[in-house]
Structure formats: structure tokens, C-alpha cells
Symmetry: C2
Subunit: 201 residues, 2 copies
Amino acid sequence: MARPKEFDPERALAKAMNLFWRLGYENASLEALMKEMGIARQSLYDTFGDKRALFLKAMAHYRDQTNSQMQKMLNESPSVRDGFTRLLSGLAAETREQHERGCLLLSANLQRDPKDVVVRDFLRDNQARVEAIFLQALARAQRQEELSPNDDPVALSRFFVVTIQGMRAMARLKSDRKALEQVARVALAVFKSSNSASLSK
Amino acid sequence: MARPKEFDPERALAKAMNLFWRLGYENASLEALMKEMGIARQSLYDTFGDKRALFLKAMAHYRDQTNSQMQKMLNESPSVRDGFTRLLSGLAAETREQHERGCLLLSANLQRDPKDVVVRDFLRDNQARVEAIFLQALARAQRQEELSPNDDPVALSRFFVVTIQGMRAMARLKSDRKALEQVARVALAVFKSSNSASLSK
DNA sequence: GTGATTCCAGACTATATAGTCTAGAATAAT
DNA sequence: ATTATTCTAGACTATATAGTCTGGAATCAC
């Protein structure tokens, strides 16, 4: 009956995601997207809708990819501390290109029009998801006595969200592994001093 | 001889800075800038050059303003820990509007075209300045025995730069004072446990 | 082959907006 | 009053780019 789709929408979306990741929403022109995705205008609009819809799909793709990766990394580590170490040191050890492109969702947060509640709500939801992933791991850490009962796992999960975003911002500006590793080491000290975030209330 | 300037360029620049701060570079149209600054197109171009030049001047203004404020805050506090507490808790306690606009320079970092080395270098220079301000305070903290000799003041200064940027990103997404305060408390724990960032080498 | 669909290439439209230019009024010194 | 300058208002230009539309070739089922 009809000619079947020739390109794989999944692969094309991944390509689009990569371009948005490197350039940001504004700087990724349709021209560039078409070229990167290897498809023509028509196919792009037919398959993904307009540029904004494509961007939202790319964000969702990015979220699923990175969150399941983080979750896996934390679950695989018997010691939760090691899991977070791998996370933060892994970030520090990335290439200059990786540091430069940063985090798609952090960029989206700071590039978005303040009035854009769709993107805002997407990102809020994602932050909640990431906090939940961290919280799960940190609760386990507490059970395993890697944290003291005085530590607040919710506070710590938020702390790590903040730390990672800050490190991403720093890495984007200057790919300095040593500096990033220093920051990671300070942050990871929450695991050792058994009374980190409690007393001062 | 001639008609003197009627508007105060300093005040106009401050107004422009505020608009860029709230909206970002792209979303601050010339139309909106003219209105906010209370001057006409011609005067704007005559006085500040093009939009980009105005933005760079606004960034410099912002930097000078915020950095001297931070320095003052840290110098005024006998206890360095209190200084950083005021800094971080002050950030957490800002209004929703303030949280939403975030930090002009963090936004500039994540909004900029990756190829834009002028903005990049400006921001790198600023980060070095902020680190220096923090370092000065942290070195004093070490002399005053608020930190252990094992702590690395350089690492800690970078840690605080990262923490503040991460908190700014988080606050922009959702103005949640409690969450921000939790993060601040965790971060400030570097001052108490006298062996924070050292052992793991 | 026919028909339905999807592909590509590229023309075309619409829109936003940065930047320039023009005209004329206001303000000061001489 | 004259002159030089700065102001406002707004027309105008140039440019980039998102999105639509057209034509024709390729690919499948029948």
C-alpha cells in the first residue's frame, strides 16, 4: 500500500537531542537539526511536530536515559558512598566536549523564558525524580550505617542535586578536572563525619 | 554650547541589567530595554553601543555589585562560618521573584553560544575573583581554627562556588526556602567536622 | 502498472527584531 | 538669536529563521 518510514524515529530523536544538548534550543536551527538528524524538513514536521515539540521529546529522552543510568550506577554499588563517588568523579573525569555541552536539562532551566510553565513543570518533575533516586540510595546508606541516624536523607538528596548542577555549570565554563575533583571530594565528605547535617538546629 | 545628557547612564545601565537579569539576553528585546531604561533607541545606541555591548556592561556592573557585596558580608563577620551562613541562608530566604531571576552570570553561562569566548572569558575571570574572595575568608577561618589544618581552603572555595550556583539553579526552578535551607545546612557542615575534605587522598 | 504513501529539495511566507536613518523639538552656551 | 548637541518618535532596512507548500522521485502492496 504505502512506502514505509525509512529512518528510525528513535535514532533521529537521539540525534536531535545531541544537537540541542551541544547548542541549546535557540542555537539549534532547523537547518542544523535537519542535517544532524539526516532527514528533510517535511519528515521532521510530520514525525515530531514543530521545533518545540521536538525539544520536549528530546528532553524526555534525555531524562529517561540519564536517570536510569544514575539509578543503575547507584544500585550497582554495594557501598552508597562508592556510588556517589562514581557519579561525581565520573562527572569530573569527562572530556572537555562533554563538560562543554553540560546538562541538557540544566541548560533548559536557565535558557527558558520564565513564563514558560510547560518546561518549568517538566523540570520540576524531573528534579523530584532525581531526588527520589538519590533518596532511595541514601536511605539504604543510613541502613547500612554509612550515614548516621542524625543525617537527613532528604536534605542530602537535595544537596547532591545541587552539587551536581553546580559542578555542571562549573565544568561548562572551564573543563578543569582537578577543580571538579576537589569539589567532589568535599561533597562526599558528608559520608564520613557521621554528624554532618544535624546539630545546628 | 550643547545640550547636556539628561539621563544618568549609570541608572540606565542598572535598569538594563535588571531586565537582562529577569529575562535573559535573548528575551530582553530592544523594545523592552528602551522602555525599562526610559530612553529612546538613539540614546541607547549612542551611549552604550549595540545590544551585546550593553549586555557586557550590564554583566560587569552586576559582577562589581554582587562581588563587593559578598566580600563585605564575609569581612563583616568575625566568624567566617557565620559569614557563609549569612550568604547561603540569605540566598535561601530571598523572595520568589528573586529566586526566579536567579543569577545573571550563571544564566549567561548557560545561555551563551559555546563558541562565544568573550562571554566565556569574562565569566572565567569572574569565577576566579569569587574564588579569591572565598579563599581569603577561608584562609582566615583556618587561622581562626574554624577549619582544621587538614582542610584545603582552595577546594572549599570552589565547593562554595559550586554550591551557590547549584542553589541558584534550584531556586530558579522552584522557590522552596525549606529545601534551600536544608542544602545550605549540609554545605555549612564543612565547618564543623574538622576533618572534612582531607583523608581520602 | 496503479495507487497510496513517504521521501527529498527547495521555493515561499510570515514574523520578529536588531540596527540605521530622518525629522524635529528641547536645552544650553555664546 | 545662533549654534551645537541631545533628546524623542518612528519610519525604514536587513536578516535570520520557523513553518508551509509544491513537485517529483522512490518504495511498497496489489
